[in-house]
C-alpha cells in the first residue's frame, strides 16, 4: 500500500492551524542564522481525513490478540482488559509532569509504592524498582545489581552461567555487564543439568540466570539443588520472569531461592504489547541487594503519610533511564492485580497450564514434543517429522495464517539434540477450550496437508495481505527510508504498490 509520503499533495494540511499573535518576536533576532535550516523540513502534506484513512487501512493489515488466538510461546499474548487502559489514561495520571513536586504527584507515587508491595507478595521478593522499560532492560538492571554487589564485597566475579534454553536477551544482557557467558547444557529432561552446573559454578562465577518454567515450558525439578549449588559457592540466582504466568499463587521465585527477578508486566500482568512495546521490566530483589537498586525509589514518610523519591545511596547502580519508569504500564498492572485478587491470579496460572497441557496432549501424536512430559503454561512441539515431505516448520507456521491464526513461536528454543524445528505454543488463560479445539483441529489438518499436499504449506500464506517476503534482498540492498527508495526507483520493479485485502 502507498506510503503516507505518496499521498501528499502540495498545500494540504492535516493540523489545526494555531493562532500566531506573536509577530513582534523575530526568529532571526534571537538565533544566529547558521543554527537554522534554510528551508522547511519536507515531510508530508496530507489532510486529517487522509491520515485517518491511511492508518485505519494500515491497522487492517495487522493481527492482534483481539482478532484471535496469538499463541506465541514465552510472549504471553493474553487479553488486555479495557478497564486497565481507561485507568492508565486518566488525565491526571497521563498529564503528570515527572519533575513536578512530589506534593503534586502523591497519587502517582502512592500507586508506585503500593504496586511494589503487591509484586513483592506475588513473587516473594523484598523490594522492586519500577524503572526498567522492558524485560531486557530489567535483565541489564539485574546483572548490574549483581555486579555491584560483588564489587562491593571485594569479589571479582566475571562469569555468568546461562542455560542453552535461555532467551537471547540473557547472554546479551550478561555481556553488557562484561560478564563472560558460560552455557549450561540441558539434560534429557529438558532442564538444567546439575552435574554441568556444579562443574561450572565456582568462586569466579556471578551466578545463574534461569527462566522457570524454562522456554521449553518445563518447571525445573532440580530447583532446590540449583539454588544450593549457586549459593554454596557464594553466587546469586537470577530469575527471568518471562514465564511467570505459570507460577501465580503456585510457586514464588523468592521462596525458591532467587535473589533477583525481573517481571515482564506486558506478559503475565496483561498490559498490551503494543506491536513491540512499551512494556515494563520491573526488577525485584532480596533485602541484601536493596542498596544496589537503581536510584531513586518511592518511599513513604510514616510521620506525614507523604510519598517521596528516596535516593538509594552511594551503592546504587545509578540511573538506567530518564525519570522513574513506564508509569502508564504500572497503572494497568495495578488495576489487573486488584481486579483478580489472590484467587484470580491463581486461576490465571491454573487455566494457562491446563490449556498448554491440553494442546500438548492433543497434538503430541502429530508434532513430536521436544520432551514428552507435563508442561507449564506453554508446550514445545517440533515439526521434525515433516522434513521428509519437504516441509519446514516455517511452512507449518505460515499455513496457520491461512486458517486465521497467528502462528506460535518457531525455531526457539533451539538446542541439539532435543529442541530443533521447535514450535513453542503458549495458549494463555484468556483462550477458551473451543478456541483451542479449533487450533488443534487446524494443526491436525495441516499435518495431513503436509503429507498429502505439501504445496499448500510451501505456498502459504495466500489469505494474508501479502505473501512471503524476500528477507535476503532486504539485507542485501537495504532500503530503510522512503528517500532510499526514491534513490533506487529505477531498479525496483514492484508489481503493485497497493495491497488489496
Amino acid at each position: 500500500m502507498k506510503l503516507i509520503f505518496e499521498k501528499s499533495f502540495p498545500g494540504r494540511i492535516g493540523f489545526s492551524k494555531p493562532i500566531d499573535l506573536f509577530d513582534d518576536i523575530k526568529l532571526e533576532e534571537s538565533i544566529p542564522i547558521k543554527y537554522l535550516e534554510k528551508n522547511k523540513k519536507q515531510l508530508t502534506e496530507v489532510s486529517e481525513v487522509d491520515v485517518i484513512r491511511h492508518f485505519t487501512k494500515l491497522s487492517k493489515f495487522n493481527y492482534g490478540v483481539d482478532d484471535g488466538l496469538y499463541p506465541l510461546g514465552s510472549c504471553t499474548m493474553k487479553y488486555n482488559p479495557r478497564i486497565n487502559e481507561k485507568m492508565a489514561g486518566l488525565a491526571n495520571f497521563s498529564y503528570a509532569h515527572p519533575l513536578s513536586f512530589p506534593d503534586m504527584a502523591q497519587g502517582s507515587l502512592e500507586l508506585i509504592y503500593r504496586l511494589d508491595k503487591l509484586l513483592c507478595e506475588i513473587t516473594g521478593m523484598d523490594k522492586y524498582t519500577m524503572a526498567p522499560a522492558s524485560g531486557a532492560h530489567g535483565e541489564l538492571t539485574g546483572v548490574l545489581i549483581m555486579r555491584k554487589y560483588f564489587l562491593d564485597h571485594g569479589e571479582k566475579r566475571h562469569k555468568m552461567l546461562i542455560p542453552d534454553s535461555a532467551h537471547g536477551t540473557n547472554p546479551a544482557s550478561a555481556a553488557m555487564a562484561e560478564f563472560e557467558v558460560v552455557e549450561i547444557k540441558s539434560n534429557e529432561n529438558g532442564t538444567v543439568d546439575l552435574e554441568s552446573l556444579s562443574h561450572a559454578m565456582d568462586g569466579e562465577t556471578v551466578g545463574l540466570m534461569l527462566t522457570n518454567p524454562n522456554t521449553v515450558g518445563l518447571y525445573d525439578e532440580g530447583i532446590e539443588s540449583i539454588q544450593k549449588i549457586i549459593h554454596d559457592k557464594g553466587g546469586l540466582l537470577y530469575y527471568d520472569g518471562a514465564n511467570l504466568n505459570a507460577s501465580l499463587g503456585i510457586i514464588r521465585p523468592g521462596d525458591a531461592g532467587f535473589d533477583v527477578v525481573h517481571l515482564n508486566l506486558h506478559k503475565t500482568f496483561s498490559t498490551p504489547h503494543g506491536g513491540g512495546g512499551p512494556g515494563s521490566g520491573v526488577v525485584g530483589v532480596k533485602s541484601r541487594l536493596i542498596p544496589y537498586l537503581p536510584t531513586p525509589v518511592v518511599a513513604l514518610e510514616e510521620s506525614s503519610g507523604k510519598y517521596y523519591f528516596k535516593d538509594v545511596g552511594e551503592k546504587s547502580i545509578g540511573m538506567i533511564r530518564s525519570f522513574w519508569g513506564n508509569f502508564s504500564v504500572l497503572v494497568k498492572t495495578f488495576a489487573w492485580i486488584l481486579s483478580l485478587g489472590p484467587e484470580g491470579l491463581y486461576e490465571c496460572s491454573k487455566a494457562s497450564i491446563i490449556n498448554a497441557n491440553y494442546v500438548l496432549a492433543k497434538l503430541k501424536e502429530y508434532y513430536k514434543p521436544a520432551y514428552d512430559r507435563y508442561c507449564g503454561h506453554e508446550c514445545t512441539l517440533t515439526g521434525r517429522e515433516y522434513k521428509k515431505y519437504g516441509i519446514k516448520t516455517l511452512d507449518i507456521a505460515k499455513r496457520l495464517m491461512d486458517y486465521g491464526f497467528h502462528p506460535p513461536t518457531i525455531y526457539f528454543p533451539h538446542f541439539e539434540p532435543y529442541a530443533d524445528e521447535t514450535i513453542m505454543i503458549e495458549p494463555p488463560e484468556s483462550e477458551g477450550k473451543e478456541v483451542l479445539d479449533d487450533f488443534i483441529n487446524t494443526m491436525i489438518a495441516i499435518s495431513k496437508e503436509a503429507k498429502e499436499n505439501p504445496e499448500l504449506l510451501t505456498s502459504a500464506p495466500r489469505r494474508t495481505p501479502i505473501t512471503r517476503t524476500d528477507d535476503a534482498m532486504a539485507v542485501r540492498r537495504p532500503i530503510l527510508t522512503y528517500d532510499d527508495e526514491l534513490r533506487l526507483k529505477d531498479e525496483l520493479n514492484y508489481q503493485e504498490k497497493d495491497i488489496n485485502f
Partner: protein, 447 residues
C-alpha cells in the same frame, strides 16, 4: 473470572483428555518444598466499578495536572496532541499485537515504522534511523556504547549541559567497560569549545552534546563537530526537545555522526515520565554497530512492495552474547504515535508549531525581564526553554503559580548545586500557552 473463558466443567474435560485426575498432577515436577502453601496475601478481587472508584480515589491525590499548564520541561514537554492521533491509537490492531516477526500479519506496524524512519531521516538528515530505544537517556547510552565499538577507544567526553538523567544513565551503562568519562565543567549556556579541545585526545571515542541543551541553549554544533573530527572522535548529538527539529539545522547537515533523539514531543503523553520513546540515527557506514530493530523494504513472492524487520544479524535473539545490544521489546506503539503525529503536522505544521514554541518562550522571557524582578544570568540563543534568575522568594513564586493553575518552572539548583544558580529558574514554554496566559504569568510574577 471474566478474563478466563473456560468454565470449570470445561477444565475438567480438558484434564480428562490430558489424562490426569487433577490439576495438581500437572505440577508434579515442582518440588513440594518450594510450593506456595498459603494463599497470596493480597486484597480480595474488586468488581470493575469498585476498582474504578479505588483508582479514582488514588488519582485524585494528584494535582489537577490536566488543567495546570506546565512551565517546566527539562526533558518532558507538554505539547498539544491532535484527537485524530489519539483516536487512531485506539485501534486494537495496533496495540494488542506483538513485535512484527511475522510480516504477513504485521504490515500495518511495519509500514508505520518504516514511515517513521523516513520522517526522522528527513528531520535529521541522517541516513539510517533506529526508530525505538526506550527513552532519550537509554538511547544516548546505547549511542555511547556504539561509539566505543566503532572506535575501540576508551574515553567519552560529556557536555555538562546534557540532561542530568542522561549523564547518569551513560555512567551506569558504561561502568562495567573500563571507560573513562570526562564531564566538562559548566561555564554558561553553551558547551565550551576550549574546554573540549583540552580534553580531546587520541583515545577519545566520542563527545556527547545535547542541543538544544538542558538549559534550552542551541549549541554551535558545527564548530564542535569540526574539533571532534580533527581528533578522530565521533560526535553524538542528543536531542531532548524534538520539536526543535522543525526549525534548527539538521544534525546530518552538520556532519554529526550519531543522533540520539527523544521523541516524547511527537505526540506522547507526559505520563509521569514514561513510556516515552527515542530514536538513534547515524550514517550508513555505521549500520552494523547499531543496536535495536529496524524495518526495511523488500518484495513478497508476488513482487509487491512490503516491509520486514531487517539487518537482524546484530540482534540478541540471533547473536546472543555477541549482539550489539540486549534490547528486544522497545516502544513501538510510541513510534506509531510519533508517525501519526508527524503525518498530521506535516511540513507546514511542524514548522509552525516549532516556530510558535520559539516565539512564545521568547515573548515570556522578554515580559519577565521587563518587570525588573528577573535578570538574565548569561545570554545564549535558545529554542523554547530559558534560564532566568528571580530576585524574589522562589517559594512564593511557586505558590503563586500553583494557585493560578500553572506548574512552576524547574529550579536548576537541584541539578547544578552551585551558588550562582540559587535563584535560577528554567522555564519551558510550548505552543499550548496563549498570549493572554503568558501575560497573566508575567503579571503574576512581576508583583
Amino acid at each position: 473470572m471474566r478474563y478466563i473463558p473456560s468454565t470449570s466443567e470445561q477444565q475438567k474435560e480438558m484434564l480428562k483428555e490430558i489424562g490426569v485426575s487433577s490439576f495438581e498432577e500437572l505440577l508434579s515436577s515442582i518440588p513440594e518444598n518450594v510450593r506456595l502453601k498459603k494463599k497470596l496475601n493480597l486484597p480480595p478481587a474488586l468488581p470493575e466499578n469498585e476498582l474504578e472508584e479505588n483508582i479514582m480515589h488514588i488519582v485524585q491525590k494528584n494535582a489537577d495536572f490536566y488543567s495546570m499548564k506546565p512551565l517546566i520541561g527539562a526533558g518532558a514537554y507538554r505539547h498539544f496532541i491532535p484527537e485524530a492521533e489519539k483516536a487512531l491509537l485506539q485501534r486494537e490492531e495496533f496495540w494488542t499485537c506483538y513485535t512484527p516477526y511475522q510480516p504477513e500479519l504485521s504490515q500495518g506496524t511495519l509500514q508505520a515504522i518504516f514511515e517513521f524512519q523516513s520522517h526522522i531521516s528527513r528531520l535529521t538528515k541522517m541516513e539510517v534511523v533506529i526508530p525505538s530505544i526506550f527513552d532519550g537517556a537509554s538511547a544516548t547510552a546505547e549511542a555511547v556504547l556504539m561509539s566505543i565499538r566503532l572506535t575501540h577507544k576508551e574515553k567519552i567526553i560529556i557536555s555538562p549541559l546534557l540532561h542530568p538523567h542522561y549523564r547518569e544513565t551513560i555512567k551506569t551503562y558504561v561502568e562495567p567497560h573500563n571507560i573513562e568519562i570526562v564531564e566538562l565543567p559548566l561555564q554558561d549556556g553553551a558547551t565550551s569549545a576550549d574546554m573540549l579541545k583540552q580534553s580531546l585526545d587520541n583515545n577519545t571515542a566520542a563527545i556527547v552534546v545535547q542541543s538544544p541543551n538542558f538549559l534550552g541553549g542551541v549549541e554551535d554544533i558545527q564548530e564542535i563537530v569540526e574539533i571532534t573530527h580533527q581528533n578522530d572522535a565521533l560526535f553524538i548529538q542528543v536531542i531532548v526537545e524534538a520539536m526543535s527539529l522543525g526549525l534548527l539545522k539538521s544534525p546530518g547537515n552538520m556532519n554529526v555522526d550519531i543522533v540520539a533523539g527523544n521523541t516524547q514531543s511527537f505526540g506522547l503523553d507526559l505520563s509521569f515520565g514514561g513510556p516515552h520513546n527515542a530514536f538513534l540515527a547515524t550514517k550508513k557506514e555505521y549500520i552494523r554497530q547499531l543496536p535495536g530493530r529496524i524495518v526495511g523494504e523488500t518484495k513478497d513472492r508476488d513482487g509487491k512492495r512490503v516491509f520486514v524487520m531487517t539487518l537482524r544479524a546484530r540482534e540478541q535473539d540471533i547473536r546472543r552474547e555477541k549482539a550489539t545490544s540486549n534490547i528486544c521489546t522497545n516502544h513501538n506503539l510510541n513510534v506509531m504515535a510519533g508517525n501519526i503525529y508527524l503525518s498530521l503536522l506535516g511540513t507546514e505544521g511542524l514548522y509552525q508549531y516549532s516556530l510558535l514554541n520559539f516565539k512564545k518562550a521568547h515573548y515570556l522571557e522578554k515580559e519577565l525581564l521587563k518587570s525588573g524582578k528577573f535578570t538574565n544570568p548569561f545570554p545564549y540563543p535558545y529554542f523554547n526553554e530559558f534560564l532566568i534568575n528571580y530576585q524574589g522568594n522562589i517559594e512564593e513564586l511557586r505558590k503563586r503559580l500553583i494557585e493560578n493553575n500553572f506548574i512552576p518552572p524547574l529550579s536548576v539548583w537541584q541539578f547544578y548545586p552551585e551558588e550562582k544558580f540559587r535563584q535560577s529558574l528554567l522555564f519551558a514554554v510550548t505552543e499550548i500557552f496563549s498570549r493572554d496566559e503568558l501575560n497573566k504569568i508575567s503579571n503574576l510574577l512581576s508583583q
